[in-house]
Amino acid sequence: MNGHLTEDELDAVLSGDDLVGERADHLQECLVCRRRRDGFLAAVEDAAGDDPELPTRDRVRAAALTEWSGRSTAARRWWLAAAAAVLLAVVLPFAIQRAPSPAGVDADAVLRQVDEVLARDPLAVMASEDVLETVVPAQAATTPGGSAS
């Protein structure tokens, strides 16, 4: 088959198929077939129109990048806030449970304990035993909670 490319062959070439053997050689050498192929490609390229000017491309790219990076920063902040909130929600109940509860202290028992100490040795809360021994030896000796006993 030595004639020019058929319509189907030309469409196949333009659609991305490769010709083989003699047909490929023919396309390589035949000015008419090459002109048909290149004429189509040129017409399509012309129909595609001009590419945008560089300033337009720069502007669109910059706007997209700003929108993207602005949102990703905001998203990151949002995630940080959300993570902090979750952490608080999980940790706070445990922390509250472990802390001594003022309501759990028996005030009467504490007061009773204080009264007992004071009853045994009223001055014990105000001075050390050595001082008591020096200042009021007799009283310290007679006191039930004193060191002399």
Partner: protein, 200 residues
């Protein structure tokens, strides 16, 4: 030989996967280099999938933002260009659906107010009649492109305007290569016939 191969593409030697990984971690510079590399693909695609008068710039910007936000979901299986093209195609479909838009079909052959590439030919070009015919041919090709059914138009645009290979188109549209070939073959058949009739 694809159309895009004849244009200048901003190719750099950087490893694209590395750029994707950096951008995924929030590196703005890497993200910018990724966009720089593929922005013409998106511009060409969007401009040819949306009707005239639609805001191409905002569609391109939205495509970029969607792509950058979706980077964590980008799997290395596809090329970044296919993935970006898929986002652009979906966005155009959304806009067409939302506004019930139909792709642009010029009423008159070559009757656009907007100057075409052939308008910038040097004044010394010898044959004005030939120029006029070429302009008409471009108008007819544009009109035929606008008339292609949705999927055919997408495949055609991905191939000739975005410069993707068949595999890339298949990935971008989520179809097999056989389907891509069928649509492309039909689209090429229609547009080529019109172009050859109109070309001087």
């Amino acid at each position: 030989m694809a159309i895009a191969a004849r244009r200048e593409w901003p190719v750099k030697a950087e490893d694209e996967n590395e750029l994707v990984e950096l951008a995924r971690r929030g590196d703005r510079d890497a993200a910018e280099r990724l966009l720089l590399r593929h922005e013409l693909l998106v511009f060409r695609l969007v401009r040819n999938l949306l009707p005239r008068g639609e805001d191409v710039e905002s569609a391109v910007q939205e495509t970029f933002v969607r792509a950058l936000r979706g980077l964590p979901r980008f799997a290395g299986g596809a090329t970044f260009s296919s993935w970006l093209a898929a986002i652009a195609v979906n966005l155009c479909r959304d806009r067409l659906r939302r506004h019930r838009l139909v792709p642009f079909v010029p009423l008159e052959d070559g009757g656009d107010d907007e100057p075409g590439p052939l308008d910038f030919l040097p004044a010394a070009t010898p044959d004005p009649e030939r120029q006029a015919m070429a302009r008409q041919a471009v108008g007819r090709v544009r009109r035929e492109l606008g008339r292609l059914p949705g999927r055919q138009r997408e495949v055609f645009a991905l191939r000739f305007f975005a410069g993707l290979d068949l595999e890339g188109i298949a990935v971008a549209l989520g179809v097999d290569i056989g389907t891509v070939k069928t649509h492309l073959h039909r689209g090429v058949q229609r547009v080529r016939r019109v172009a050859e009739e109109a070309l001087p």
